[in-house]
């Protein structure tokens, strides 16, 4: 069994759901950019951190950061060259503590009042997982 993936910390989700090319022959191709890949690009190329600093912020090793960053760049290059849409998807990221994800309807939610029953507010399923922190 492979080792469980460590969750990557991200400060804030991307402020968009995706990017679309225009002026191209219509196609419905799409690349999925994960939140942690967006965060890697942001830390390395926008905040100009080095990989070690950035990896510490995201709570992962430098090598893992390099891998995520590499995959992010490749996806963006692929989108540009092949005129694909970029869509951001949740991936293995987590934002805050006390956030949960429902395994049935994939809604993400918090439970501000710990005394209430812990079930999904949308479908009342109790198959919910904590979006766990690494520390």
């Amino acid at each position: 069994m492979p080792r469980r993936r460590r969750l990557r910390k991200i400060v804030a989700p991307p402020g968009f759901k995706g990017y679309k090319p225009y002026g191209h022959r219509p196609n419905s191709k799409m690349v999925e950019l994960l939140y942690e890949e967006y965060e890697a690009i942001k830390l390395a190329d926008y905040d100009l951190l080095n990989q070690l600093e950035a990896s510490k912020l995201m709570g992962i090793s430098r090598a893992t950061f390099a891998r995520i960053y590499e995959s992010a760049r490749r996806k963006i290059a692929e989108a540009l060259v092949e005129t694909k849409e970029i869509k951001t998807v949740y991936g293995n990221a987590h934002m805050d503590e006390n956030w949960y994800v429902c395994n049935q309807c994939h809604a993400r939610f918090n439970l501000p009042d710990p005394t209430t029953a812990s079930c999904c507010p949308m479908c009342k399923s109790d198959e919910i997982n904590n979006i766990i922190t690494n520390d």
Partner: protein, 105 residues
């Protein structure tokens, strides 16, 4: 319990809005008497602070759960402080009535 759902229009058939601060309307659904009410969001064109103003508004309305696509950091902090539950959904093709139906299941 009152639940706020962000909506693109002011009818129950309208689709869900993924934005919170800049949602067109807030649908206030009251679970006690099954009533649905739509409230205009006057901050939709605000330059800044739309999220925090929207959060203040739902607090004023006495809502205890907000359903939207995403919450900004400021709105999240404020809603957290007032112990309002936030629910994030990814699917923007859902209609308000289908969300309400799901809540009542």
């Amino acid at each position: 319990m009152k639940i706020a759902i962000t909506s693109t229009q002011n009818i129950p058939e309208s689709t869900f809005d993924l934005r919170f601060g800049r949602a067109s309307y807030f649908c206030i659904y009251n679970t006690e008497n099954n009533s649905v009410e739509f409230i205009d969001n006057e901050n939709i064109n605000a330059n800044s602070g739309a999220g925090i103003k929207a959060a203040e508004k739902v607090i004023e309305l006495g809502v205890s759960r907000v359903i939207s696509g995403d919450f900004g950091p400021k709105a999240k902090d404020l809603l957290d402080k007032f112990k309002i539950q936030m629910v994030m959904l990814d699917d923007d093709s859902q209609t308000i009535s289908s969300i309400i139906k799901q809540l009542n299941k």
